[in-house]
C-alpha cells in the first residue's frame, strides 16, 4: 500500500470551540490509483489534502507512506519528504512570477540539491512531456492559464514523486484549458502515476478511477469505478 491513513483526525480550535476538520478517517491508497476527493466546502477535503500531503500534522492517528510511519516527522523531515515523494498542483498555479518556466520547474531540484546541469536537463524533459518544450524561457505572464498549469504539473513531476496532489487543478481555467489539464492528468495516471485530486466538479471527478466524498470531516462515500484499466503497469 502506498499511502495509509489510520484513524486520522485534525482539530482546529476557534476561540473556545473545537472544529473537527477531519474526524477519525481511515483510508488506503494503492500505487497507480487516481483518486478524486469531493465534498462541499468545509467538509474537510482540503484538510485531508494538507494532512495527506505532509503539509500539516494530524491531531490524532497515523500516516504511513510506503510502509514507513511518517506521522511524527519533524519539519525538516517533512520538507525532505514533500520534496522527494510528493508533487503539488494548485488551483492558483503558484508559479514564481517573472521567472522562466524552466526555472520554475527546476525549483524542487534546487531543494533536492541537484547540480545545475541535472536541473536544466530534468526540467526540459518535464516541460517536453507536458507539451511546452518550446516555451522553456517564457515567464508565467507570457503563458496562458492552461500553459501555466502545465508548467506547474511539470514541476510536480520533476522529482519523480510517489504521489501527485492536485487541489482544484482546473478550478481557475476555462473549459477548454480545463479539459486539456484533465487529459494530461489522465495520461499521467495511465503512465502509472498515483494522483489524489480535490475537486468540486462532478465531470472532473469522473476522470478518476476512485471517488471519495467528504462531509463534516468524515468520508461518506468511497466508490471505485468498474472501468477496465487500460494499462496496469507502473
Amino acid at each position: 500500500m502506498l499511502l495509509q491513513l489510520k484513524n486520522v483526525s485534525k482539530y482546529y480550535s476557534l476561540g473556545s470551540s473545537t472544529i473537527k476538520a477531519l474526524d477519525d478517517i481511515s483510508l488506503e491508497v494503492a500505487e497507480g490509483e487516481f483518486l478524486s476527493v469531493m465534498g462541499p466546502s468545509g467538509s474537510g477535503k482540503s484538510t485531508f489534502l494538507q494532512v495527506a500531503s505532509m503539509l500539516a500534522e494530524p491531531t490524532h492517528g497515523q500516516i504511513i507512506l510506503k510502509g514507513t510511519d511518517v506521522t511524527d516527522y519533524d519539519e525538516i523531515e517533512r520538507a525532505h519528504l514533500r520534496n522527494q515523494e510528493i508533487g503539488f498542483v494548485f488551483q492558483q498555479f503558484n508559479l514564481l512570477a517573472r521567472t522562466s518556466a524552466l526555472d520554475n520547474v527546476a525549483l524542487p531540484l534546487v531543494y533536492a540539491r541537484q547540480s545545475h546541469s541535472v536541473q536544466v536537463e530534468r526540467a526540459k524533459e518535464m516541460l517536453d512531456r507536458v507539451g511546452l518544450g518550446d516555451r522553456l524561457h517564457n515567464t508565467p505572464a507570457q503563458l496562458s492559464g492552461g500553459q501555466q498549469q502545465r508548467v506547474a504539473i511539470a514541476r510536480a513531476l520533476v522529482n519523480n514523486p510517489s504521489i501527485i496532489f492536485a487541489d482544484e487543478p482546473t478550478g481557475n481555467l476555462d473549459s477548454k484549458s480545463g479539459k486539456e489539464i484533465q487529459n494530461l492528468l489522465s495520461e499521467l495516471h495511465r503512465s502509472g502515476k498515483t494522483i489524489i485530486m480535490v475537486t468540486h466538479e462532478e465531470n472532473v471527478a469522473a476522470i478518476a478511477d476512485r471517488q471519495i466524498v467528504f462531509r463534516d470531516g468524515k468520508i461518506i462515500s468511497d466508490s471505485k469505478k468498474k472501468k477496465s484499466k487500460r494499462s496496469n503497469n507502473k
Binding site: L55, E75, I76, R82, N83, F88, P108, A112, N159
Partner: protein, 404 residues
C-alpha cells in the same frame, strides 16, 4: 547547497532592480561617507606630520604661558591667548642659553609678529611681518631660492631689508624679479634681499609662504610689535632633546616662574595635534556610521515588506521541499548581498569623491577604513536581515499558500 541559495537570492534581487537599488542607497551613502570622512581625517593627519617633518625634528620651542597644559590651550582659549601674549620672553635669554650650552645647541632665534601694509608699484597688500634672526633659516630649514637671507649685522642694525615668502612675492611682484627692488612697508622703503622656497601652507589660514620676513630688531623699532612670541632652538642631535629642554628650563627659571613659559618639541606638538585629529576623525566616522545604521534599518524595512509580499512564494518553496533553514538563509543572504553590493558601490563613490576632494584638501583612503566600512556594512546586512529572515522561515506553508 549554499551556492544554489545564493543564486536564488541574486535572482530575487535582480527581479526588483529599482527597489534593490533604493534599498542599497542607505548603505551606499553610509559606507561612502564613512570612508570619505575618515579619508579626510587621516589625510589631514599625514599632511600635518609631513609639514612638521619639513620644519625639522631637532627643534625646541619656548612660548609664553602654557598652551598645551591643563587649564590652558584648548580647554580655555581666551586664557591661553592672554598667556601667550604676555611679554615674558627676552632676547637676552636666547643669547644666554646659546652662550652657556654650545655643546647642546647649534643655533636659535627669537621671533615676533607684526602687521603692515605692503606696496610695490600699484599693488597693495596687508601682510604679516615675521621678525626673526638670521639663524631662523637654519633652525627652520628655510632657504632662499633667489637672493639671500639678511645677515647678523643687518639684523642688529635694524636695517630696512626683507625676505619674502614665495606667495607674497608672487602677489606683490608678479613676474618682476623682486631681488634688490624697493618694497614699501607702511610707506617706508625696504630692500628685498631674497625669496624663500615654498614650504606648503596651511589651507585657508596664514602660511609661512605668505609672510614677509624682517630682521627682529627692525620689527621692534619700525613696527608695532611689542613682545617676543617664541624662542626657537636647534638642538645638535635628537638624542639631546631631553637635556636641551632641561637646560632651557634651568636658564629661564632663574628669571621666570614655572607657569610663565613652556618648552616643547615637534613630537609633543605633533602628538597633541594628532590626538585632536584622531578624535575628530573618529567623531566624523561615528557620525557617518549612524547613516550606516539607518541604511541597515532601511534594508530591514524592505526585507520585512518583501517577506509579506512574497508570503505565497515562501509557502510554495516550503511545500516544494525548502526547509526553514533554507528559507532563512535565502532571505539572510539577500539582505547581506544588498548590503555588500551597497558597500562596494559606496566604496566606489568614496574613491571617486576623494579624487575630487584631493584637489582642494589632503585626503587619503586607508585600507583600515575600507575594511572597517565594508565589515560594518556586511554586519549591518546580516544583523538587520535576521528579523525578516526569521519571520519568513517561521511561516507555515499552509497559511502562506492561502495568503492573498
Amino acid at each position: 547547497m549554499i551556492g544554489a541559495i545564493i543564486a536564488l537570492a541574486i535572482k530575487s534581487i535582480m527581479l526588483n532592480k529599482v527597489r534593490s537599488f533604493l534599498t542599497m542607497l542607505g548603505v551606499i551613502i553610509g559606507v561612502g561617507s564613512v570612508v570619505m570622512l575618515t579619508g579626510i581625517g587621516t589625510g589631514l593627519q599625514s599632511y600635518i606630520s609631513d609639514q612638521f617633518a619639513a620644519l625639522g625634528t631637532n627643534t625646541l620651542y619656548v612660548v609664553p604661558g602654557n598652551p598645551f597644559g591643563e587649564g590652558g590651550g584648548f580647554s580655555n582659549q581666551e586664557q591661553a591667548f592672554i598667556e601667550t601674549t604676555r611679554p615674558v620672553l627676552k632676547r637676552a635669554y636666547l643669547d644666554r642659553i646659546l652662550r652657556n650650552h654650545r655643546e647642546i645647541f647649534n643655533s636659535g632665534t627669537a621671533t615676533a609678529v607684526g602687521v603692515a601694509e605692503a606696496r610695490f608699484g600699484s599693488t597693495t597688500k596687508k601682510a604679516t611681518l615675521y621678525g626673526v634672526m638670521p639663524a631662523y633659516s637654519q633652525v627652520q630649514n628655510t632657504n632662499t631660492t633667489t637672493g639671500r637671507w639678511f645677515d647678523k649685522n643687518e639684523e642688529t642694525n635694524a636695517d630696512r631689508v626683507v625676505v619674502l615668502g614665495p606667495t607674497v612675492a608672487e602677489e606683490l611682484f608678479g613676474k618682476v624679479d623682486p631681488i634688490n627692488k624697493q618694497l614699501k612697508l607702511n610707506g617706508q622703503n625696504y630692500t628685498v634681499l631674497g625669496v624663500l622656497e615654498e614650504k606648503g601652507g596651511s589651507f585657508g589660514g596664514p602660511s609661512f609662504d605668505s609672510y614677509i620676513y624682517v630682521p627682529l630688531e627692525t620689527l621692534f623699532q619700525q613696527f608695532d610689535a611689542t613682545y617676543i612670541d617664541s624662542l626657537i632652538f636647534e638642538v645638535r642631535s635628537q638624542d639631546q632633546l631631553v637635556a636641551a629642554t632641561a637646560a632651557i628650563e634651568n636658564e629661564l627659571l632663574r628669571d621666570l616662574e614655572d607657569d610663565d613659559f613652556s618648552v616643547f618639541d615637534q613630537t609633543q606638538l605633533l602628538n597633541t595635534i594628532n590626538q585632536i585629529l584622531g578624535a575628530l576623525t573618529a567623531g566624523l566616522g561615528g557620525i557617518a556610521a549612524i547613516s550606516l545604521v539607518v541604511g541597515g534599518i532601511g534594508i530591514m524595512n524592505i526585507m520585512l515588506v518583501s517577506v509579506t509580499e512574497r508570503t505565497r512564494e515562501i509557502g510554495l518553496r516550503k511545500a516544494l521541499g525548502a526547509t526553514p533553514r533554507m528559507i532563512l538563509l535565502q532571505f539572510l543572504i539577500e539582505a547581506a548581498l544588498l548590503s555588500i553590493i551597497g558597500g562596494l558601490i559606496g566604496l566606489l563613490v568614496a574613491f571617486a569623491g576623494v579624487q575630487v576632494i584631493k584637489n582642494f584638501f589632503p585626503a587619503t583612503i586607508t585600507l583600515q577604513a575600507v575594511m572597517l566600512a565594508f565589515g560594518v556594512s556586511t554586519a549591518v546586512g546580516l544583523i538587520f536581515g535576521v528579523a525578516p529572515a526569521r519571520k519568513a522561515a517561521k511561516l507555515s506553508p499552509i497559511e502562506a499558500l492561502r495568503y492573498e
